[in-house]
Amino acid sequence: MAENPAIKKGTVTPISSLFPAEEAHKASKRVQDTIAERQEQLDQLKGFMNENTNLINLVHKLPDELHHDIMVPFGKAAFFPGRLIHTNEFMVLLGVDHYVERTSKQTIDILKRRGKGLENQLESLKAVMQDLKAEASFFDAKASEAVDGLVEIREDYVEESPSEVLPLTNNTKDAIEDEEYTHILSRIAELEQQEEEAEKANEFNKDEQIENDLGCSTSQSFTGQEVRSSKVEAANLQSLSKDGSSRGKGPALNDSSLNNKALELAEVKEKVQAPVLATADHKVSRPSSIPGSDSSKAFTGSIVEHAHDIGINSTEQQTGARSSKPVSRFKMQRK
């Protein structure tokens, strides 16, 4: 992949510098050795399990006869014919020099339990082997890559301002950090707007709502703030002064800084990103009945405007109210 430093900053690191071929080979070898060890252990365990199964079969068969004729080992190199009697009595070793007399069936039970223990060990060993093998293959891959002279390229991910989404975006970066985020915010704002509209008749309620919104908006929904503010403005200028800054922002946004933005605050919800939120907070601290206090600060972020009235599609609104005139806004509100 070709890196284009002009557009994106990136770093090129030859893989050989990260994982020098030799070292990768050595590491791979080390892992292989460990794998070999584990493999031996695995084989040993498997041998044990086989023995166990054979023993179980034998113990099972023995009591079939009262006595067996066998060749008894005698010393190192001799046998003599003999008899195996008491074919149902077994002396089983329980581990620490302790033996117990058991019947064939009981012995088989004991052996089976041992077999289960062995199986568990086997499983864990296999898991370890898997990990080791993965490690080994990783190292091999790295070694081959380093040899081939492959290069690792890292590029910073810089989100480009989605101008197509926002009609007016002064601040590209800040503005369009999270489109999804803005979407969610717009949803929230829409819902809030719906609520507000429901209580539009009641100023007091609205004020309360606005305050509530303020509360939550400070955390997240700038849009709510904006929406409320704009709404409140339309309804009650006094309330504007009450809530001060946030509300003020609405008109302020419209009037002052928004000139260049052509922020169609009018009927659309504005999504103010963090920077804007900061300004909102700032404004809250300085309640002013007259909006437009911080025009400069008002929009440091981009503003995504969504349909002010819930029932209206944001797109509609957007297309409809391009002019950031308070008049249109009020009009829309009234509607």
């Binding site: 581990g95 620490v96 117990v100 007399e101 223990g117």
Partner: protein, 130 residues
């Protein structure tokens, strides 16, 4: 010259410390081995205890003492195995403590060696400049 003498001393010091460090490392390795043995024994004992618990009261338990299988009481055998287990666990704990101790000593030794090496380097650099 005073500096060469000091240098020699430092180097001797370094050697001593290096020897100590290798001794420590051997001790740590031994500790590990003994620990492994004990852990295996502990596992065996626990297995035996489990089987013993599954036995009936009238089962005959024998203990291997040298070449002789001696009949033992089930309760006795249980008690024996339990005591063994306790003993081994105590040993393991002790070994753990020793291991910790050894490791700490090893670390401090390593630091001391490093410091001595640094001093040697600075001395040599000084000598070279002078």
């Amino acid at each position: 010259m005073g500096s060469t003498a000091a240098l020699k001393e430092l180097q001797r010091d370094l050697e001593n410390k290096a020897n100590d460090l290798s001794k420590l490392q051997k001790d740590i390795a031994k500790n590990h081995q003994v620990r492994k043995k004990y852990t295996i024994q502990l596992g065996e004992n626990e297995l035996a205890l489990k089987e013993l618990d599954l036995l009936n009261e009238d089962a005959n338990v024998y203990k291997l003492i040298g070449p002789v299988l001696v009949k033992q009481d089930l309760a006795e055998a249980n008690a024996n195995v339990r005591k063994r287990i306790e003993y081994i666990s105590a040993e393991l704990k002790r070994l753990d403590a020793t291991l910790q101790d050894l490791e700490e000593k090893q670390n401090s030794k390593k630091e001391a060696i490093f410091k001595v090496q640094q001093r040697i380097q600075s001395l040599q650099a000084g000598k070279g400049k002078a």
